[in-house]
Symmetry: C2
Subunit: 322 residues, 2 copies
């Protein structure tokens, strides 16, 4: 059996504990407040029961998963014999620095110390820590036990072996890893969300569309495909010859919208210097028709799922009537 | 029985014909090329068969749906007795102007003439047309018979009655309507997509992340929630007190990312002058905990659906093995 420590027992820490225990790891939870830790442990039962109810955990595995999670009486106990540490403490630089210093002093050499921070690049608190080579951001999306994506962000000092070890471990936990080559504020997920939100605020703020209608543009429009195919593969499939042709056809149109665009970002140039090669490795141009058909099948399966969800919701006796 | 004409028999026109016939309308398809029209009609069978295979159309309704669709021998025949015209011709202003002039001359008074254009505001071609008060953009997302979202964009001259009549008709066809108050390049859907793509190109172009990993940020991250809840309601549920608190907590953080933001868009101001009121009408602050629980249930149901999809795909005997 292999052991992981989750430090900080708020919702994020609890989500992580669920993820690790579900993947077969022993999990030691620790929180500076023993009450918080005990509360977290009891909240875990409801979380695992939910996963069972939705067939995301087999009923016969639930007890074993819960039994793998314990509350450690001290930080020393939590860290003893771990292969990985996930810190989910408060979002303040000085707190991160203090916790990480203690974790670095206690955890065995070369055990990666990942932080759940969504806003603080690890270099801002680990620069002067002896084991800074093993510190990095491992950012989940809330709730961590439901959303598979995890961002892995190394500092300038993070050892590449630490990055690969962490990426492998996250893969073993059925996480979908987004590995950044270097730090950038907001990482990838929140930058993409921020860019879309900025345009959404502009459109709603200028009275062009209501918030409710704007939401439909995503949840009845773009978001359907995006739930199983990212934006890059989406545009690659939206022209018969792939992304290069897509940018030829529509690049100028997008530029013409006068969006809050970067002056130094040239789509055509980015396509030629690497994006085209990357996307054609994932989906060769010759495979585009097959992949388009597959996309439409997935879309229809999703629509069927959504329709079933609506029917099931309606059939609950006490559900509010539409 | 009520009749609709779809003008132009490419993929978009075919998708529309499926939508209207499925909703019980008689559909007259017309294309300047009779071969294109006949080809479209035969392609329709495959499309309806797909919908049947995914339980989106009852098997016993398929024949009736197909029987409601005919190819009209002339534009005059297509337009006779229609309650609505959907034009899906080539994306060139002069072509749109010429087609729309003819449609306006032939269709009965006050029949709305909607254009499927994704890039041309209707004012750019209908200004000098006698019936410009009944012209507007009715923009589907490809493929129109699968994606429910439809953008309705009036020109400065479009009669509000035409807008409401069209919105009602689209609702009767199970479309989710996004009604704009005025024209803007790219409308809402492609502006949101463009804003996200610009950030995506920047991140991939600067080598911070691979296209494949960037895609995961959406299809294993943000896109899961977005397939059933738009970005505005998402942020409203991401703070205990709703959108106002969300912007207080995270507004400065997003601004600090240095995204390609607008200088004149102030999130706090937009919240106070209307967005908060709109979102609290949709989801009162007191209901936020209930709606959060509902969101998590939908998320788990979606994860179960995705897991089942993977298993079913794997169980196909000739499917490529992972």
């Amino acid at each position: 059996m292999t052991k992981i420590a989750t430090i900080g027992c708020g919702l994020i820490g609890q989500g992580w504990a669920t993820v690790f225990a579900k993947a077969g790891f022993d999990v030691a939870m620790y929180d500076a407040s023993p009450e918080a830790a005990e509360h977290a442990l009891s909240a875990m039962e409801g979380r695992v029961a939910d996963l069972v109810a939705f067939d995301l955990v087999a009923a016969c595995d639930a007890l074993a998963i819960l039994n793998r999670i314990t509350v450690a009486p001290s930080l020393e106990d939590a860290l003893e014999g771990v292969v990985y540490v996930q810190e989910s403490g408060p979002e303040r630089i000085e707190v991160k620095r203090e916790i990480t210093e203690r974790l670095d002093a206690l955890a065995a050499a070369d055990v990666p110390i990942g932080s759940s921070t969504s806003g603080i690049s690890a270099s801002r608190y680990c620069k002067d820590i002896a084991g800074r080579h093993r510190c990095l951001v491992v950012h989940p999306i809330n709730p961590p036990h439901l959303i598979p994506a995890v961002e892995i962000v190394p500092t300038p000092w993070t050892d590449p072996d630490i990055v690969s070890k962490t990426t492998e471990l996250m893969g073993a936990c059925q996480r979908e890893t987004i590995v950044l080559t270097k730090e950038i504020d907001g990482f990838v997920v929140n930058r993409l969300q921020g860019a879309l939100l900025e345009e959404a605020f502009k459109l709603v703020g200028s009275g062009i569309v209501s918030a409710s209608d704007l939401d439909k543009a995503i949840c009845d429009g773009l978001g359907l495909r995006w739930s199983f195919m990212g934006p890059m593969q989406t545009i690659h499939l939206n022209a018969p010859e792939g992304v290069e042709q897509y940018v030829e056809r529509y690049g100028a149109m997008y530029r013409g919208f006068g969006l809050g665009h970067y002056d130094d970002v040239d789509w055509k140039d980015i396509v030629e210097t690497g994006l085209k090669a990357q996307l054609e490795t994932l989906i060769p141009v010759a495979d585009i028709p097959i992949k388009q058909a597959e996309r439409d099948r997935k879309l229809m399966a999703l629509l069927r799922h959504k329709a079933q969800e609506k029917t099931e919701h309606r059939s609950v006796p006490n559900a509010p009537q539409e």
